[in-house]
Amino acid sequence: MSEPQKKDIFIGIDLGSTTTKAVILDDGGEILGRGITNSRSNYDVACRIAREEAFIRARFSLAENAMRADPLLSGLESTFIRRLEDSFKLHQYRGELEHLREALQAAAGNARHFAYQADFRNILNEIVDRMVETAPALFEPGASRKSDFFRDLAGAEYMQLAEAMADPKGINFETIVGAYDSAILTVENTSDEESFKSHIGAALELLLENGSGETAEQSAHLRAAIETARNYNLNELVTVGTGYGRQRLPFPKEWIRSEILCHGLGAHAMFPDTATVLDIGGQDTKAIQVDDKGIVTSFQMNDRCAAGCGRYLGYIADEMNLGLHELGPLAQRSTHRVKINSTCTVFAGAELRDRLGMGQRREDILAGLHRAIMLRAMSLLARSGGVKDEFTFTGGVANNPAAVDALVDLVEQNYGARKLNISPDSIYTGALGGALFAMRDYQGAQA
């Protein structure tokens, strides 16, 4: 066996209020892998999970590169890797289910459950058995999953099964759910740095067994390519942390960067002609001006109230009993936009009920709301120095088509034509900027 190959990498981690993101760059500044998870209340766990996911994706990238470099496999890599990823996810999920089983049994061992312990253990085992059985369906090609986070994915299944198996007079729903709540923490706190290494082999073999036309020779090459990726020595040189929770990261101070700078640099990396960046996240809105190197020259953030941020749309969605992603398309169906002046989260519910009560249509109200949010963003943009060409929009709200429409409209009205950039990966902007800072810092120190 040859020496494992080695690659120097730089990592950026963005601890946001809603999600935590990680990006891994190679020493040429190319993105190797990305990871994302819910921030929850525990930033340490969130940071670790996002990192691990980014490492897994990085190894898949390396596998894909190895395939591309192999004349026998070249051309197959993109479809194959996608299938391999699904297969890997299934194995990983099953592995985590086994962790969950152990943790549930440990929870059942609590003296509190002494009187009915044996029954309780059986129920918990049965739930996990069923989850293992139904797992493949979740990861079939083209299957839609509500979330890729284990906590959400397993949680949803577990709750359904718990409800079905609970006995109000015996082991009730609350007891079964209680076991999950404590077990999931144990599962999340168990590090699985080697997740790729422990599951990729089985995932590959399953795929090859089921056969999809690979020749024996190709299979051998595939095994070698995956083995290369598996054994790659990913040499982490510098990790930079950013985002709202950055102070909580166990990093030395010089490796912590403000998310403003990271967003600026990240947006510049995605769209090199960016001059102005607008980021609307869950808790805050930022307007940033950058120079031609991605250096921030001016910025403004919303004041202490979260009016007009992503969280506000969340309240509205809850109030209307809609999914967050449904708001934009519904607003786009509006024909008579209602004028809304307040984007105060405190009054959002009351105002909405009032307007609906007056017979105003949901889509017209929503159109007004999206415009109101963008008017607030416009004032921050004006404070930071206006909207220059090109203009890059990032953050969760950038995925909302009605918000984008309203923004385009207002920008054009006030500043004239501007090229607007929105990346499907915009959620990783801050983490990417962080990783780029890590690389710049390291390379600067070497020079």
């Binding site: 109230c305 002046n341 004032s379 207002l410 009205q413 006030n414």
Partner: protein, 389 residues
């Protein structure tokens, strides 16, 4: 509604809704004269008028103006009127003003005068600092000097010297306007159902845009026409005085909401600057001294004016008594320092006098009145029950 009244109401409604100051532009075109804007609260309009210019009350953008640029200049804890006023200016709507006067209302409007200086360096701007000392030899002497400076400035903008007779004549014109407004308010107080609050307010407000002579004629005409509407009948409403809206104005819809909720508004401090002086200004002698004395002695009680002695609230209570009102509604703009700091003192005075009161805040662009409707309805019911006991 008969056609003549409809025409009148349509006209004042247009004046209210038109954010482009079309009436001002038309007046300038027709007469070749100039226009000088002023923010709410007192400025001696007689001086502007005496120069042959049109004094124009600028009361923000109300509910109809979308704020795109104005918010960039103000933090969230500052009231709404400066945002919409900046919006009006940045969108070119105030280009028809040949000058802007910023009276002493509060720190926000005061600072806005300096902002204007920097944002529009080539336009005439003046901060009108009224005296808070009412001794004719002390505050009066200062104020006479300020009026004299204003007179010189207005003369310069108009391109002509302002004579004493010019000012005396303008004093007469405004005395007549004051008399007409007094008649309007007296009529409203006697039979509020004949003069619905929205009409009353819009007729009053037209005084911000029309030359005073025209405004006086309009009020007189309205006083003729409104009683001819035979379908205007008394209702089982309570009678209230509202206070707090002297600067930033509530939307007309809010006033209508109060009326529909069962409150006849028989006293108010809406657009107080138009009704600042409580008596006629002397038309004899030195006109500057006459204007100054009128301010020192016959100014209305207002939150932006220092109240010497212990009379705080006495005018409000008198207004309640004189108008046979049963309660007071505090209706102040959010973040309005003078109104909101005054309120606890007025509350103390009302409590001592046994006058019931309630309160809410608004912003000029408040779009939703459901909560206010509920509150005003409950208040109206409660004071009627209370007064029956």
């Amino acid at each position: 509604m008969r056609p003549a009244l409809k025409t009148l109401v349509d006209r004042v409604t247009f004046l209210y809704e038109d954010l482009d100051f079309t009436a001002v532009k038309e007046w300038k075109e027709r007469t070749g004269g100039k226009a000088v804007g002023y923010m709410p609260i007192y400025v001696p309009r007689e001086i502007i008028h005496a120069a042959g210019m049109l004094p124009v009350g600028v009361l923000g953008g109300g509910e109809g103006l979308e704020i795109i640029r104005g918010d960039a200049y103000f933090q969230s804890y500052i009231c709404h009127i400066p945002r919409s006023t900046v919006e009006l200016a940045l969108s070119g709507r105030l280009d028809c003003m040949d000058g802007m006067l910023f009276p002493s209302i509060c720190d926000v409007i005061r600072n806005l005068s300096g902002m204007w200086n920097m944002m529009f360096p080539d336009r005439y701007v003046r901060y009108i600092d009224v005296p808070q000392n009412y001794d004719p030899e002390v505050g009066g002497s200062f104020w006479r000097r300020e009026i004299a400076e204003l007179r010189a400035d207005m003369g310069r903008i108009a391109g002509r010297e302002i004579s004493d007779d010019d000012i005396r004549n303008s004093i007469k014109v405004y005395n007549e306007n004051r008399a007409a407004l007094d008649d309007l308010y007296a009529a409203r107080s006697r039979t509020p159902w004949v003069y619905p609050i929205a009409e009353l307010y819009l007729v009053l407000r037209a005084g911000c845009l029309l030359p005073p002579e025209e405004h006086t004629a309009l009020i007189r005409e309205y006083l003729e026409l409104a009683p001819q509407e035979s379908d205007r009948k008394d209702k089982d409403h309570s009678r209230v005085v509202i206070v707090g809206s002297f600067c930033e104005q509530p939307p007309v819809g809010l006033l209508q909401t109060l009326e529909r909720a069962g409150c006849w508004i028989v006293g108010d401090d809406l657009i107080l600057g138009l009704r600042w002086l409580l008596r006629d200004v002397d038309t004899e002698g030195d006109p500057i001294t006459a204007l100054s004395d009128a301010f020192l002695v016959h100014s209305t009680e207002a939150a932006s004016r220092y109240e010497p002695g212990n009379a705080k609230g006495s005018q409000l209570i008198a207004s309640v008594r004189d108008n046979d009102a049963e309660g007071v509604i505090f209706c102040a703009p959010s973040f309005c320092d003078p109104a909101l700091l005054d309120q606890p003192m007025l509350v103390t005075a009302l409590d001592k006098a046994g006058i019931p009161h309630t309160q809410f805040k608004f912003s000029e662009d408040t779009g939703q009145f459901a909560v206010i409707r509920e509150q005003a309805g409950t208040f109206s019911d409660s004071i009627r029950l209370w007064s029956e006991v």
